[in-house]
């Protein structure tokens, strides 16, 4: 291999600059030797970085040339002077470091999160050729795009199209797993095809990549699941049962990284469903389906064209559907774009590029606010420094050197701020992990450290250069003659900066108020059902439980804490319900076919969930005919089917002979799909043929925790073969809003920090102003002004800045929050009072901040101030 002698030039020059001349040749030679070796090893990029690292690793006292070079001596002096200055101006140094530090802490946290979000699915080497095939389903009545497709696509596309090298399905299912007579409900059991690990590079620790999934009776466990089932024992070759099917562990895979759209606990060949679901035609079914399908396409294939070809191909297969006006339009989504850009039905819990953008903006704004603080304080202190600058100039300092001096000073401040920021990040990381759902943040990875150095440099220049240039501009003659007009210096600049800061603060205050309002609205909203104190036990319809429905109910009702028990069939009104079509009698007496949500429940359902009847009655065990002839519907049906009112609904016909039912009751609307969606028409049917799948137990809220353990014990005694899988209904409901809650709490923290930063800046500015006017205050006091009048005078200067900020901020916040509220179907309206509150809040903050400083000035004895003149 031909040696390439080009390590980073700047690093080499840095070395030449700092290194003692007698050591230079040897050291340089050594680095080149290492560099050469690493190049030979084949990693060019790494070699370059290692060279840089080498150069920095040798930046040590014994190699640094301290003598002879003037600029270096100067630099040392700059450091010395800067440290003295920082120590002299304790207050402003403190404000600066705290402000910059907390701003930087926010920035780092957001950076860590964004870094996760934008780096999804980067693990896979062939990632740029992997696509998910999704589709838009079109029929006469609706059009929507969805992620899953028919199972035949994944099974056959790689045989049909030469452009498709491999195709694999992916579907997470939950099943009962038994291992050595221990039972678990396991979710995240991923059905995949035999070539899954040839497409995706998940890290297989044991087993054969190519053959571990070829036998339909095999399973690959993730490390964590293997540990759960088999402890530290080698799991390979062990067996376990999924439902009744015995599988052998043929591989061990590392848990998928947090930044993987596919999350799973185990990989199982899809063919198992032939037996498990009694679905022998799984490879032949083109329509419907709930499988995600991934394609590895050949080099240079145009995904748009391939999508069209597949659409045409499957269109022929589904000719019968087309006759009924339904067809699929397929399109390919690049693997790495899915997490942030895909928003389809039945998709993963994806991120959102817009939210990422919002946070990037927030991070930059916060950092800018902190910089503005620094500029403010530095220019406010310029008056003290101008004497120093004047003297230096007289002695012969060049402007360049003065600028460097200031930059060194801001570099020092920034460095201290970085230390503070890292400390803060360390403190906040645990709660940040909880809120974001990511657990592995590598704060001090090599890349992050390099970025951090970059940010330090940018911050130094951003915050330091303006004051440096302004202050070094001071004319030496003016300073020496003593007629420097210090008062108005840069005050316009500072005012502008304060306005910017407070605009951001007021806008954030308004946003926080609106978000709080909306979230408490959601918490207090009448859902039409009582979810507090309800435990949901999901037994997934296992026969062992179905046989025991009546004994279970009787046993539980004997417990004093239990006030209701209800068994339902796939009808937990939290995660949404299934939707189907039926014939309904309209207000005009016609029968129409309509789609309607369906619940199947027992007669205790309404009482257990505290639902109110608007008209008629709920099911009752006293009426034997209920199970075949009656139906209960919700209020939304009344409007939807054009009936007059709730009483008019009674007796309306549903379905067709021989399954005709008549409405016996109308139940008040209840939210079964969360508050993001409108309440749709729903029908409540009796459980058909004893097909119960889960149960609800109602207790008093205060007793529900202790009841949980009691229930678990009873359950294990009565039904040992079905795992006890229980959740609290109110928590499940809240779970739907975690993303919004998390967004809100992050936003809250960041707003708080930016408000603190704003106040710090204001405080600094107030300090500068009052110092400047201290003699004026003294004279006014001598002439008889009261403390109150002086406070008012100083405050007035700031208050109009806040008013201007409010005028700019309010409409911006209004527009922003209006957009945000649109996420919810049921939302509060934007209350103009919030603007008033936010402004009032900002005013109070300002007055308090400014007055703290101004009060001290106002109470100073005028004699102390005026005796100098």
């Amino acid at each position: 291999m031909k040696p390439i002698f080009s390590p980073p030039r700047w690093a080499n020059r840095f070395l030449e600059w700092y290194c003692k001349p007698e050591m230079l040749e040897d050291l340089q030679g050594a680095f080149f030797e290492y560099y050469h070796e690493r190049i030979e090893a084949g990693n060019y990029k790494k070699a370059r970085w290692m060279f840089v690292l080498d150069v920095f690793a040798h930046f040590r006292p014994h190699t640094i040339n301290l003598e002879s070079q003037n600029s270096q001596t100067m630099l040392l002096t700059h450091f010395k002077v800067s440290i003295r200055n920082i120590r002299k101006q304790r207050l402003s140094s403190f404000l600066n470091t705290i402000g910059l530090g907390s701003g930087l802490a926010c920035f780092i946290l957001i950076f860590l999160w964004v870094n996760k979000e934008v780096n999804y699915d980067t693990l896979h080497e062939k990632g740029d050729r992997i696509y998910r095939i999704s589709n838009t389903f079109k029929s006469d009545s609706e059009t929507f795009s969805q992620a899953p497709s028919g199972p035949a696509l994944g099974a056959q596309l790689d045989d049909v199209f030469s452009e498709v090298e491999e195709s694999s399905r992916f579907l997470n299912i939950s099943e009962r797993v038994s291992v050595n007579n221990r039972y678990f409900f396991e979710s995240g059991l991923a059905l995949v095809d035999h070539n899954f690990l040839q497409i995706f590079d998940f890290n297989l620790i044991a087993g054969n990549r190519n053959s571990a999934l070829s036998n339909p009776q095999s399973i690959i466990l993730t490390e964590s699941l293997a540990k759960k089932y088999f402890g530290d024992k080698n799991p390979i070759g062990e067996s376990l049962k999924i439902d009744q099917i015995e599988l052998t562990v043929t591989g061990l895979v590392q848990d998928p990284p947090e930044t993987s759209q596919m999350r799973f606990n185990a990989l199982i060949p899809t063919l198992i469903v032939k037996q498990l679901w009694n679905f022998p035609s799984v490879d032949e079914r083109w329509g419907g389906g709930s499988f995600q399908t991934y394609l590895l396409v050949a080099e240079g294939v145009d995904p748009t064209k391939l999508g069209k070809d597949i659409t045409a191909f499957i269109g022929e297969k589904l000719a019968e559907w087309a006759e009924r006006g339904m067809f699929y339009e397929y399109f390919l989504q690049p693997l790495q774009s899915i997490h942030l850009e895909s928003n389809l039905r039945y998709d993963y819990q994806n991120g959102d590029i817009r939210i990422v953008m919002v946070f990037i903006a927030v991070a930059i704004v916060i950092l800018l606010l902190a910089c503005i603080n620094y500029i403010n304080l530095a220019t406010a202190n310029a008056i003290n420094r101008s004497k120093e600058v004047g003297i230096r100039k007289v002695i012969g300092a060049e402007r360049r050197q003065l600028v460097l001096q200031y930059l060194v000073e801001s570099f020092l401040i920034v460095s201290i701020a970085v230390v503070i920021a890292l400390g803060l990040v360390g403190l906040m990381l645990p709660s940040f992990q909880e809120v974001t759902g990511y657990e592995q943040f590598e704060l001090l990875s090599l890349n992050n450290i390099i970025y951090l150095c970059g940010i330090m440099l940018v911050l130094t220049l951003l915050a330091g250069s303006l004051p440096a240039f302004l202050i070094s501009k001071v004319s030496a003659i003016k300073v020496i003659k003593g007629n420097l007009k210090s008062g108005a210096q840069y005050s316009l600049l500072r005012k502008g900066l304060v306005i910017t800061q407070f605009t951001a603060t007021v806008a954030l205050l308004i946003s926080v108020l609106v978000m709080n309002d909306q979230m408490s609205f959601i918490e207090d909203k009448d859902l039409g059902m009582e979810t507090d104190g309800v435990i949901h036990i999901n037994f997934r319809g296992y026969d062992e439980v179905r046989e025991q429905v009546n004994p279970l109910r009787q046993r539980l009702l004997q417990l004093s804490a239990v006030s209701g028990v209800s068994f339902v069939s796939n009808s937990y009104p939290v995660y949404g319900l299934s939707n189907s079509t039926t014939d309904v009698e309209t207000g005009d007496g016609d029968m129409v076919t309509s789609s309607i949500y369906t619940l199947q429940v027992d007669p205790d359902f309404a009482e257990t969930l505290g639902m109110k009847m608007v008209a008629g009655r709920f099911y009752s065990r006293d009426y034997k005919t209920d199970s075949a002839e009656a139906i209960v519907i919700n209020e939304a049906c009344i409007k939807n089917f054009g009936w007059k009112d709730a009483n008019d609904a009674i007796g309306k016909k549903f379905g067709s002979e021989p399954y005709l039912r008549k409405v016996i009751g109308v139940v008040q609307d209840f939210n079964f799909e969360g508050l993001y969606n409108q309440i749709e028409p729903a029908r409540i049917l009796p459980v058909w043929n004893n097909r119960h799948s889960s149960m609800l137990v109602k207790a008093d809220l205060s007793e529900v925790r202790s009841l949980y353990t009691e229930l678990e014990a009873i359950w294990e005694e009565m039904i040992p073969t079905v795992p006890f899988d229980a959740t609290f209904m109110n928590e499940d409901l809240k779970q739907q809003y975690t993303i919004v809650y998390n967004f809100q709490s992050i936003f809250l923290v960041f707003s708080f920090i930016s408000i603190v930063i704003g106040c710090l800046g204001l405080f600094g500015l107030a300090t500068a102003t009052t110092n400047r006017r201290i003699r004026e205050v003294g004279i006014r006091k001598v002439l008889g002004a009261s403390v109150y009048e002086i406070l008012r005078m100083i405050n007035k200067d700031f208050l109009y800045l806040i008013v201007i900020a409010g005028v700019v901020a309010s409409p911006a916040a209004y527009l922003l929050m209006k957009e945000w509220l649109k996420i919810f179907t049921y939302h509060v309206s934007f209350d103009v009072l919030f603007i008033v509150y936010a402004l009032a809040g900002a005013l109070v903050l300002t007055i308090v901040t400014v007055s703290v400083k101004a009060y001290k000035t106002a109470t100073t004895n005028p004699a102390n101030v005026l005796k100098d003149e």
Partner: protein, 109 residues
Amino acid sequence: MKGTNLGEFEELVLLIVVAKPEEAYSVAIAKELERITGRKVVHSVVHASLSRLLKKGLVDSKMGAATAERGGRRKRMYTISADGRKALEMAKSHRDVLWAMINQQTANA
């Protein structure tokens, strides 16, 4: 004088200088150390150690030959000085005395 005291790492470096005089320059010493101790040895540490030895007068150095891998730069070759040899011998004799004591104890036990 403090200068004649040898740290453990310095002693190893010095021993390599004596043991492999034809390869006694920083990069080769670092590699040799890595090979012998099985630990990761960073160049900067070896270099710092050599500088210290030089300052204490335990080694002498002069510029050697240039090679292409080093971008045509010469390497600094180290040789042990009389003081260095003394320091090594002293370190060894301390150890010998102590080992003799240990061996005696084991024999008595």
